[in-house]
């Protein structure tokens, strides 16, 4: 599967080239997504990782024209089954939404209209794109709820969203998203608002859906652990740009970008021997108004040097690429030295250890 990162065009379900999203504001043009490119094969799962504000949600919402801000400008190309989403008219893209491309959002508590039953909302989804009778749509809603693991779906279908727990609501939202058998499901932080147990159940559900429905999935998250669990390919975003992207195994075993190193050490590992404070990357992501003209990560990078004032391009391989000026052959060495330094200073807060324990459980999928 590692060969799926940049498959030949035409084979891909979704092919995004140079996607740029910018907003006109009073303080000038703000670029939220800057030249993003990736491709997604059929039945593939792409994990997009980054801190909040890194442009991961905005890029996905821009694909479906869900950004309503009249000051937004979307450029680039996004070929979905050969048709460019960006160039589509509202009516065309509306016919795709929910039918070909479904999207679910972070907070299941507020994702459904509070005044209609769950079944009504699923039926609405079905009847928007297919000419199905009310009764039939209702029956399908029950089936879908059953499929996503809602107990007693025949009764719960008539419940209102507030009568569902958080996990059940997310299941219902997923059921709604799957109602028209979309070929692509975009899930924006689907597990962030849920507790750990529910999180695992939802991820298991998504894994199963991919097999049963044959859908491709784009999973947006800030949690490397979730990506590791489910993705085939990883796209690491920082300040609206791709910092590193490639097949999961490459990115997790041989991460190349210092930002990815930071993200990987931010994964809490219950099996770690010592209980350490959750490691973090020092500093905070830049405001979109003040992104450095060179490498955007440079202000937070411990290995920055003069070259970083220039903008690094994505390079370094066919499937595994990164945007960093550090010499590629010395990356692992540099990473190890950073860790040793952090440990000797008694600061486990940064880059505490390599990711062996994570990759050890790889076969789980």
């Amino acid at each position: 599967m590692p060969d799926a990162a940049v498959p030949p065009a035409g084979d891909a379900l979704l092919e995004v080239r140079d996607l740029t999203v910018s907003f006109r504001t009073r303080r000038g043009l703000v670029t939220a997504v800057d030249g993003l490119s990736f491709s997604l094969g059929r039945r593939d799962v792409l994990g997009i990782v980054g801190e909040s504000g890194s442009g991961k949600s905005v890029s996905m919402m821009s694909l479906l024209k869900l950004i309503r801000d009249p000051n937004a400008r979307i450029e680039g190309e996004a070929r979905f089954e050969g048709r460019d989403l960006i160039a589509m008219r509202d009516k065309e893209i509306r016919a795709l939404r929910g039918r070909e491309i479904a999207m679910i959002f972070q907070d299941p508590m507020t994702a459904m209209t509070p005044v209609y039953t769950v079944g009504w909302q699923i039926a609405e989804q079905i009847r928007t794109h297919e000419s199905v009778g009310r009764r039939a749509a209702h029956e399908r809603a029950i089936q879908l709820l059953d499929e996503v693991g809602i107990p007693d779906p025949g009764r719960r279908v008539n419940d209102y969203p507030h009568e569902f727990s958080g996990g059940m609501r997310q299941r219902a939202v997923i059921a709604m998203a799957l109602a028209n058998n979309p070929s692509l499901l975009i899930a924006d932080e689907p597990t962030t608002a849920l507790d750990v147990t529910t999180q695992a159940q939802i991820l298991a559900l998504m894994r199963r859906l991919r097999v049963d429905h044959g859908s491709s999935i784009i999973l947006i998250t800030h949690d490397m652990g979730v990506v590791f669990d489910i993705a085939d390919n990883v796209l690491v975003m920082y300040a609206g740009r791709a910092a590193e992207q490639g097949p999961k195994h490459d990115v997790f075993h041989r991460p190349r970008h210092p930002y990815t190193w930071g993200l990987l050490s931010s994964v809490p590992r219950p099996r770690a021997e010592r209980v350490s404070r959750l490691p973090t990357i020092p500093g905070s992501p830049p405001s979109p108004l003040s992104i450095a003209p060179g490498c955007p990560f440079a202000p937070r990078c411990r290995l920055r040097h003069d070259k970083c004032d220039e903008r690094p391009e994505l390079a370094g391989g066919i499937v595994h690429v990164d945007a960093c000026w550090l010499p590629r052959d010395r990356r692992q060495e540099l990473r190890r030295s950073l860790i040793e330094k952090a440990v000797s200073e008694g600061d486990p807060g940064d880059l505490s250890e390599p990711t062996d324990s994570l990759s050890g459980s790889d076969s789980a999928r």
Partner: protein
């Protein structure tokens, strides 16, 4: 839903009881005031006073007095005016109630229709010149004294332009619906418009704010991601959820209007409703009538509030458990 209605009714009865106690206390237990003199009216002779004292048990403890009063009001319904002796209070009120209801319900329909048109239009066209206009109309509406606006309307429709464009306007007064529906509507037209003018703007403004807030909600994003048309998102999702706070505001205002705020409009347009009855009895301090009017008005307010609450629960499934 049925248990909800049951619980709501019980609560309404409780509020009604408390209001009746409050009214009773205001009229009968204000320190330093002889209630008998009040009920009997000004300059009543000692014999009348003694009779009143006995009839209302004013020489007995307060709870018994309260009981007697309620008995006169609701059970025997024999409370009679002390100014026009022998005029029973309750039938007068029952006779006047349809007038008040005609006025308020008609006005409410007009202002809600206007508010929906203006509110949704300005929410859809937010950021245009429509916004400040709606806002100003709303502010002016809540700032104009209702009775004064009525007088000014009369000035133009009954006097200044009556020989011109308003020659079709009938003289002030009321024609029952059962007598002549066309005349009924014609007589009520300007009272309706006057009352509606005061509320339409503020409701449009509230509705606009609620719709804009709803359009920012996550569920609207979900609805868009489902591929619904903008029109369906606006009507079935955003507007539907915005109805909830608007309906609860409407309940308060409708209740307040039926229960007394409309009395000024009734007076100005010469409509013989409960409000007019209250005011007429105020002019000569006819306490039994005033008290009866207040109690019945309170009854309507509580009833309106209860109906609104049930409606609210029908609109918002989350409220049914409360």
């Amino acid at each position: 839903m049925l248990t909800f209605i049951g619980r709501r009714t019980a609560a309404a009865v409780l509020v009604l009881f408390t209001i009746s106690v409050l009214v009773f206390l205001i009229f009968f237990a204000t320190p330093g005031v002889d209630p008998a003199a009040r009920i009997a009216g000004r300059n009543a002779d000692p014999a009348t006073l003694a009779q009143v004292r006995h009839e209302f048990g004013l020489d007995r403890p307060i709870p018994i007095r309260y009981g007697l009063m309620m008995q006169h009001l609701f059970i025997a319904r024999d409370l009679s005016s002390f100014v026009n002796r022998g005029d029973l209070v309750i039938p007068q009120i029952l006779h006047a109630a349809p007038v008040t209801l005609s006025l308020v319900i008609g006005a409410a329909i007009i202002w809600m229709v206007l508010a929906f048109l203006m509110g949704t239009a300005s929410a859809a066209k937010r950021g245009t010149a429509f916004d400040p206009v709606i806002m100003l109309v709303g502010v002016v509406g809540v700032s104009i004294p209702a009775y004064w606006l009525g007088e000014v309307v009369n000035l133009f429709t009954q006097s200044r332009w009556h020989s011109g464009i308003f020659s079709w306007v009938p003289p002030l007064g009321y024609v029952p619906l059962s007598t002549n529906p066309a005349q009924w509507a014609l007589h009520l037209l300007f009272p309706w418009l006057t009352l509606a003018a005061l509320y339409a703007g503020i409701y449009a403004r509230v509705l606009r704010g609620e719709i804009l807030e709803a359009l920012n909600e996550d569920y609207v994003r979900t609805a868009r991601a489902k591929g619904l048309t903008e029109r369906r998102i606006m009507v079935r999702h955003a507007l539907r959820c915005s109805l909830i706070p608007v309906v609860s505001l409407f309940g308060l205002d409708f209740g307040a209007l039926v229960g007394g705020s409309a009395l000024l409009t009734e007076v100005v347009f010469g409509l013989p409703g409960v409000g007019k009855l209250t005011i007429d009895s105020l002019q000569n301090l006819d306490l039994p009538v005033i008290m009866g009017c207040v109690m019945y008005a309170a009854f309507f307010v509580v009833l309106a509030n209860a109906v609104v609450d049930v409606l609210y629960a029908a609109l918002d499934p989350r409220a049914r458990r409360a």
